[in-house]
């Protein structure tokens, strides 16, 4: 018997409304639940982590890139430290594997010196310049014409989906609300101050709203007649390689950065795959998620600059994400046009890393603007620990199956994901509602068969647990229905038997 699923209705009022369910919005919602106030996050998609948060490099940067004095510089290093403390408790997969910025020319070696100096100012721990020999000894797959590298031991890889759901689940556990399929239509104002937010699920009265709408944050600002910034989406494409080549590299490998981006990298993922990418080019449409032939060719060529033997035949999927480029720095500020509206916008790299620190900064801004912060004595900083069946010893697996037989049914063979894990992902505080939502939480369908085997099974489990027909199960976005009913019957007889 399925447990009941909450309908995610919009409350009539809240102290704070967070607009956008990416990692930044989710981290802000969680930060707010540390205090005795009501906080509601609205997200237009059926799930959190469906924009930039679902398609990025998944790297917790050390923090030597950003110009000292910027939000990026401050919040990157702070965020990196915060994850170190909170990731495990929130169930955010994270591995501190360090990173290397690889130089192949004398000019690039000089750039590494500059990055080292900058890192020192930003407070990045443990930076070292390595010789070519040291670099090759540590990372034998690296290009032989490497001249040196910058080693940053505090860099880590993390799962950006689990970061978002980890923050969101914890926020809901602590009294926050996540309302999905709820898009903003406008702001209700009185004398230049915020009174309510109009959404597709009705009106919610509030004094404070936070614009964390990612690539759509400029559009949200315009709803308040605020044109203080604009967002230029910049696409980045990726190729993900199979776990069978997971040994290719042991650390995050960057080229020496240019002015626009950190360049095309070769990196392990936290789950043991390898990815290459991203490239970087501006697009007009904030919904443009197409990968391109030229783009994929460019990232393969770029990756081979660092690791010449990248086994592209081991590709299991390709995807693209959009950076919300709002200029040089993050835009963390009150709206100049509407009292009570705050922007957490222009969050591109290192946005994932900075997210928990951005949350702290934003809440501080709200307090300065008059939001009363009284500590929530009941705040629980962690999520219940969820065992990963595949990582357990046989006797532990036996105990789990004895407790719940669904632990003994493997639904995703590639990643060894059980039915119990999928059911738990659906019934989590901010649970999965879509096939991709399940995949992002427990990895069913993210292995080498890409859901070929488990896709129909996950669809059936979602239908059962959500109490909806198969034909209403969606892949990811609001209208992404997967299956239609069979051909109509004609009269008493089926049209085709």
């Amino acid at each position: 018997m399925a447990q009941s699923i909450s309908p995610r209705t919009l409350p009539a009022e809240a102290d704070v409304v967070v607009i956008g369910g990416g990692v930044v919005g989710a981290a802000i919602l969680r930060e707010l639940t540390k205090y005795r106030l009501s906080a509601v996050l609205i997200e237009k998609a059926p799930d959190v982590a469906t924009g930039t948060s679902k398609a990025n490099s998944g790297i917790l940067h050390a923090g030597f890139d950003a110009e000292p004095g910027t939000w990026k510089a401050r919040l990157n290093v702070r965020g990196s430290r915060l994850y170190k403390d909170i990731a495990e408790g929130l169930g955010i997969a994270r591995r501190e594997i360090g990173s290397l910025v690889v130089a192949k020319t004398d000019e690039q070696l000089q750039e590494l010196e500059r990055l080292l100096a900058r890192g020192a100012i930003n407070g990045v721990p443990g930076l070292e310049l390595w010789s070519a020999d040291e670099t090759i000894a540590f990372e034998p797959g690296v290009a032989r014409d490497v001249k040196g590298a910058l080693w940053a031991p505090s860099a880590a890889v993390a799962c950006p989906f689990l970061a978002t759901t980890g923050f969101a689940d914890n926020a809901v556990r602590n009294g926050g609300k996540v309302v999905t399929e709820c898009a903003i239509n406008g702001f209700v104002t009185e004398n230049g101050t915020l009174k309510a937010v109009e959404t597709t699920k009705g009106r919610i009265a509030t004094r404070f709203a936070i614009n964390a709408a990612g690539v759509h944050s400029a559009q949200v600002a315009r709803l308040a007649q605020d044109d203080s910034f604009s967002i230029r989406p910049r696409k980045g494409e990726y190729v993900l390689l199979d776990k069978s080549v997971g040994h290719l590299v042991r650390t995050v490998l960057f080229p020496t950065p240019d002015k626009v981006s950190k360049g095309i990298l070769v990196s392990p993922t936290v789950h043991g795959n390898v990815f290459i990418g991203p490239n970087s080019f501006a697009v007009d449409d904030p919904e443009d998620h197409e990968t391109t032939r030229d783009g994929l060719a460019a990232i393969i060529a770029g990756a081979r600059q660092i690791v010449p033997d990248v086994p592209v035949q081991a590709a299991i999927t390709e995807f693209s994400g959009l950076r919300a480029d709002g200029g040089k720095d993050f835009i963390l500020a009150p709206s100049p046009a509407l009292g009570g509206l705050f922007h957490a916008a222009g969050i591109q790299s290192p946005g994932l890393t900075a997210a928990p620190a951005i949350a702290e900064a934003v809440v501080e801004m709200l307090a300065d603007a008059g939001l009363r912060l009284q500590a929530n004595a009941k705040f629980i900083p962690e999520n219940p620990r969820r065992a990963h069946f595949s990582e357990l010893e046989p006797h532990e697996q036996a105990a789990l199956i004895a407790a719940d037989p669904l632990n003994g049914r493997v639904i995703c063979r590639c990643e060894t994901v059980t039915e119990a894990e999928i059911v738990a992902a659906i019934h989590a505080p901010c649970g999965a509602r879509t096939v991709d939502g399940v995949k992002r939480r427990v990895r069913a369908g993210s292995g080498r068969c890409q859901g070929g085997f488990c896709g129909p099974r996950v669809t059936a489990i979602l239908a059962r647990e959500l109490g909806i027909p198969i034909t209403e199960v969606r892949k990811d976005s609001s209208e992404s229905y997967l299956f239609y009913p069979r051909a109509e019957t004609i009269g008493e007889e089926s049209a085709y038997v």
């Binding site: 995807f319 046989p394 036996a398 049914r409 060894t416």
Partner: protein, 435 residues
């Protein structure tokens, strides 16, 4: 946790696993077990509701479930144990099989012989790196087939099929019969990868166009697929600029190849053939790991289930003999090479011959389509056996029984190859007659 002891265990209860288990029991193995992850035996056959199965094995035309049922019934008449809804997590050298199921929990099976018969999986869009967006509506043909035939839902209404593998062709017909509009099949190669009979019965009979040397260069749509862009490709399979055209559709079905599902084999340390992606085996379907055998699509992808059953009988019987201590030692194995014109040859190795066996059966796949051709066996460069072929298609497996007397010359290098033969007027007349 429970422990069990068996003579022979087959991993997978599809056509290979069932045939291997039956053959093992028949050859004298006392305790035989089939482990199947689904809730019934039959494997992929259960979703293949079209006919065309069993012409060789049973001399009659059956559907997939019909073919499976014959084996299910045969297994049911024996004392072979069957564990359903059970997933094998590991098969370790020494014959230890670790598996889980909802009702039995974790089980450890100690087997004298293990037969890997896990079948294959479908190549994905990611593996062939098709650019574009990632909306709902892109399915592998087999996943779509399961939804239509077993769950009773339609994966789409306006369908394009990418790749001309057999499952794609079968699904073109199936979707048409279900009322969907199948707009086209696109194949990147200059030849089809499906059986000729499927091209005729599934495309030609329904007026579905097959575009050879065409590739999908982009998939469009944010929620659901809205269309694709297709281009002609050159000899290097690269899209030719200026030949692109768009096609509206809500569904893309991929039939772009099958890959042996060999994670358990790799985990056990079984040596693999990089071309078949299956184990390297000898004539007994014995792998490099003692006590481990392989058969069916996990060993190499077959086009007819009849051959799967046949091959599994070899593996099952050998697994039983191994369990009974009667299987001849592998001795010094002799490699069998796939030479020019051939993509694969199975078995790849010859162990010492079994007393009383006069021939060894080989399965081949050609590397390119040819008209009249000859397949030859060379021992140290000298042709010792040949057979004329009317036509060679990479999609259709070639089977030949080679006399043992030709295979065991001392230190000889064995190589099979295919060479084209000039067309002759006689053959053309012959083709027409057959048509």
């Amino acid at each position: 946790m429970s422990e069990h002891v068996y003579d022979v265990v087959t991993i997978g209860g599809g056509p290979a696993g069932m045939a291997a288990a039956l053959a093992a029991r028949k050859a004298g193995a006392e305790r035989v077990l089939i482990i199947e992850r689904d809730h019934e035996l039959g494997g992929i056959l259960q979703q293949c509701i079209h006919n065309g199965f069993g012409l060789r094995r049973f001399k009659t035309e059956l559907t997939g479930p019909g073919y499976a049922q014959r084996y299910v019934d045969m297994v049911g008449e024996t004392d072979i144990d069957i564990w359903l809804d059970t997933t094998v997590l590991e098969t370790a050298a020494g014959g230890t099989v670790r598996c889980v199921s909802p009702d039995k929990g974790v089980s450890i099976v100690k087997a004298k012989s293990v037969v890997h018969s896990m079948g294959c999986r479908e190549r994905t869009r990611g593996a062939i790196r098709t650019p574009g967006s990632r909306p709902a509506g892109v399915f592998t043909a087999g996943a779509a087939q399961r939804m239509v035939n077993m769950e009773g839902y339609l994966p789409g209404r306006e369908v394009v099929i990418v790749g001309s593998g057999d499952i794609g062709l079968i699904m073109a017909r199936r979707m048409t019969l279900e009322g969907a509009k199948v707009k086209a099949v696109f194949e990147i190669m200059p030849h089809s990868n499906g059986l000729t009979r499927n091209i005729v019965q599934c495309l030609d009979d329904f007026g579905i166009p097959l575009y050879l040397s065409h590739s999908v260069v982009s998939v469009h749509g944010n929620d659901r697929v809205t269309g694709i862009t297709v281009a002609k490709v050159d000899e290097k399979l690269q899209p030719i600029a200026g030949t692109e055209f768009d096609l509206d559709c809500d569904t893309v079905l991929l039939s772009v190849g099958l890959i042996p599902e060999n994670e358990l084999g790799r985990g056990a340390g079984v040596a693999m053939d990089p071309i078949t992606s299956g184990a390297s085996v000898d004539q007994f379907r014995r792998t490099s790991v003692p006590g481990f055998f392989a058969a069916g699509n996990v060993l190499h992808v077959h086009d007819l289930v009849d051959f799967v059953s046949q091959e599994a009988e070899i593996a099952g019987r050998a697994a039983a003999l191994n369990a009974l201590g009667l299987l001849p030692d592998a001795g010094t194995q002799k490699p069998v090479h796939a030479g020019p014109g051939l993509r694969t040859v199975v078995p790849q190795l010859l162990s010492a011959p079994e007393a009383g066996k006069l021939t060894v059966r080989f399965y081949f796949r050609g590397s390119q389509p040819l008209g009249r051709a000859v397949i030859q066996l060379r021992a140290d460069g000298e042709v010792v056996w040949d057979r004329k072929l009317k036509v060679v298609k990479p999609s259709e497996m070639i089977v030949a029984d080679i006399p043992v007397s030709l295979l065991y010359g001392d230190g000889q290098r064995l190589e099979f190859s295919i060479e084209p033969l000039p067309e002759s007027a006689d053959d053309e007349a012959l083709e027409e007659e057959e048509a």
